[in-house]
């Protein structure tokens, strides 16, 4: 067995952690601000769209036939066009998201946990770890995912299960109070962030021992992370009621503060932060990996490792300049889903169709 590739288990766990990492903290408030107490229905819609898109992604995965994603692009569009497309795609999508995620983390930490620490330092710490792990290689990340996954699950259970007794499920009523329009509207954010980023998972078809299982892995991880989101959202809204949720910045964090059993088992919210740190770590590792691999393919480099340090530096700066104040943050969050859909829905569909077309043409 080749121990330098990812196993199915490792890949599944990494993807789940990746998807958790994005919106875990802000998801409930994003959804609830538009869909109010029907936020959880939005999630169902999101998952449905994701499953549809997985058909497309799976189709592309099959077309890859052993080649890596960048090679496939070049096969489809010729060397120069393929490389150009890859370059633009990589810079505008995973590389940008990398800075976004890092900035998110920084905002969170300076708001809630370490208000006196400069954001640059927070950035460097996370970037340092991510660069280190990518130097070690994909199989190391896989193994780390296997281990840390259980810690994250444990902390999730620890943080959220005790809330169930104090959950007031009448807060979820009335269902469909405002009709289906807000539900659809709210689902946009979550489709974009993180689910259609699964297009990036296509980079991993060649990194595993059993490529034919890739589609099953993506489906499984999407369903599991979706389920977890669902539970958290339900609990959060049930415990806090949707008005509170809408007005909070980080409701998932705040809700855990409300746990209080016998004066000792309280104030576990720091543990929940740890969940997020670990999930963000895996998210950034994946994004950095995809970016580095993509650019390395564009310039035909043997190894992506030499790009890690420059990318780290650039990400560091860009994360600092993304939005100077909260107002722009909010606007960005509202515009982002459509930008993301361009890369996560339109682009893959085009690639898939092109691939189908080429297959038809080459089969007389």
């Amino acid at each position: 067995m080749d121990t330098s590739k990812l196993t199915i288990r490792q890949m599944t766990m990494w993807f789940i952690l990746y998807q958790l990492g994005s919106a875990f903290l802000v998801l409930p408030s994003n959804l609830a601000s538009i869909a109010k107490q029907d936020a959880w229905i939005s999630l169902c819609l999101v998952l449905a769209v994701q499953l549809l898109m997985i058909l497309v992604y799976g189709g592309i995965a099959k077309q890859l036939n052993g080649a890596s994603f960048d090679q496939h692009l070049q096969t489809l569009l010729g060397q120069w066009l393929g490389k150009l497309l890859l370059l633009l795609f990589t810079l505008m999508y995973p590389f940008l998201i990398l800075s976004l995620v890092l900035r998110d983390l920084g905002d969170y930490i300076t708001t809630v946990i370490l208000p006196e620490t400069p954001m640059e330092v927070i950035f460097v710490l996370m970037l340092g770890v991510v660069i280190y792990v990518l130097y070690c290689g994909v199989s190391t990340i896989g193994r780390a995912a296997e281990l840390l996954f259980f810690i994250v699950m444990g902390l999730l259970a620890l943080g959220y299960l005790p809330l169930i007794p104090s959950a007031n499920f009448t807060n979820l009523l009335p269902v469909f109070e405002f009709g289906w329009k807000p539900i659809v509207h709210a689902s946009f954010t979550n489709i974009a962030f993180p689910y259609i980023e699964s297009v990036l998972f296509l980079y991993f078809v060649s990194q595993t021992n059993r490529p034919e299982k890739w589609r099953a892995v993506v489906i499984k991880s999407s369903l599991i992370s979706g389920f977890l989101f669902m539970c958290v959202t339900l609990i959060v809204i049930a415990v806090l009621s949707q008005q509170v949720v809408t007005s909070l910045n980080f409701p998932s964090y705040f809700v855990v503060r409300t746990i209080s059993y016998s004066e000792f088992f309280e104030r576990f919210e720091i543990a929940v932060s740890v969940i997020w740190f670990i999930a963000i770590f895996f998210r950034m590792s994946l994004l950095m990996y995809v970016s580095a691999k993509g650019i390395a393919a564009v310039f035909q480099l043997k190894d992506y490792r030499s790009l890690l340090i420059p990318f780290g530096l650039i990400t560091f700066v860009i994360a600092g300049i993304l939005w100077p104040n909260t107002a722009i943050l909010i606007t960005t969050y509202r515009a982002w889903p459509f930008y993301s859909m361009f890369f996560g829905i339109i682009f893959p569909i085009l690639i898939w169709l092109t691939g189908l077309f080429k297959q038809r043409v080459s089969q007389p």
């Binding site: 940008l96 400069p118 640059e120 330092v121 460097v124 329009k181 807000p182 659809v184 509207h185 946009f188 650019i295 310039f299 035909q300 480099l301 043997k302 190894d303 490792r305 030499s306 790009l307 340090i309 420059p310 990318f311 780290g312 530096l313 650039i314 560091f316 700066v317 860009i318 600092g320 300049i321 993304l322 939005w323 100077p324 722009i328 606007t331 960005t332 509202r334 515009a335 982002w336 459509f338 930008y339």
Partner: protein, 76 residues
């Protein structure tokens, strides 16, 4: 000030890496890496001197904010 220290750290790490790469005569990787590194260093220096760098997000906002408004009206 902080930015400079951090820049120094990155440069140090880069230097170590380039040495080992050059020993293996991987010229192409070094060239590409140095180019990106140069971009990064410029950015840090710009930040340091408080030059306003346009955020990529402004472009996104420009293009897609109207879409968002449209959707909100459609589904509001």
């Amino acid at each position: 000030m902080q930015n400079m220290i951090i820049l120094l750290l990155f440069l140090l790490a880069a230097y170590v890496q380039y040495r080992s790469l050059l020993k293996k005569r991987e010229v192409r990787q070094v060239v590409v890496s140095i180019s990106f590194m140069a971009v990064g260093v410029c950015l840090v220096l710009l930040r340091e001197f408080h030059v306003k760098i346009p955020s990529p997000v402004s472009g996104i906002n420009l293009l897609f904010h109207p879409v968002d408004l449209f959707m909100t009206r459609l589904l509001g």
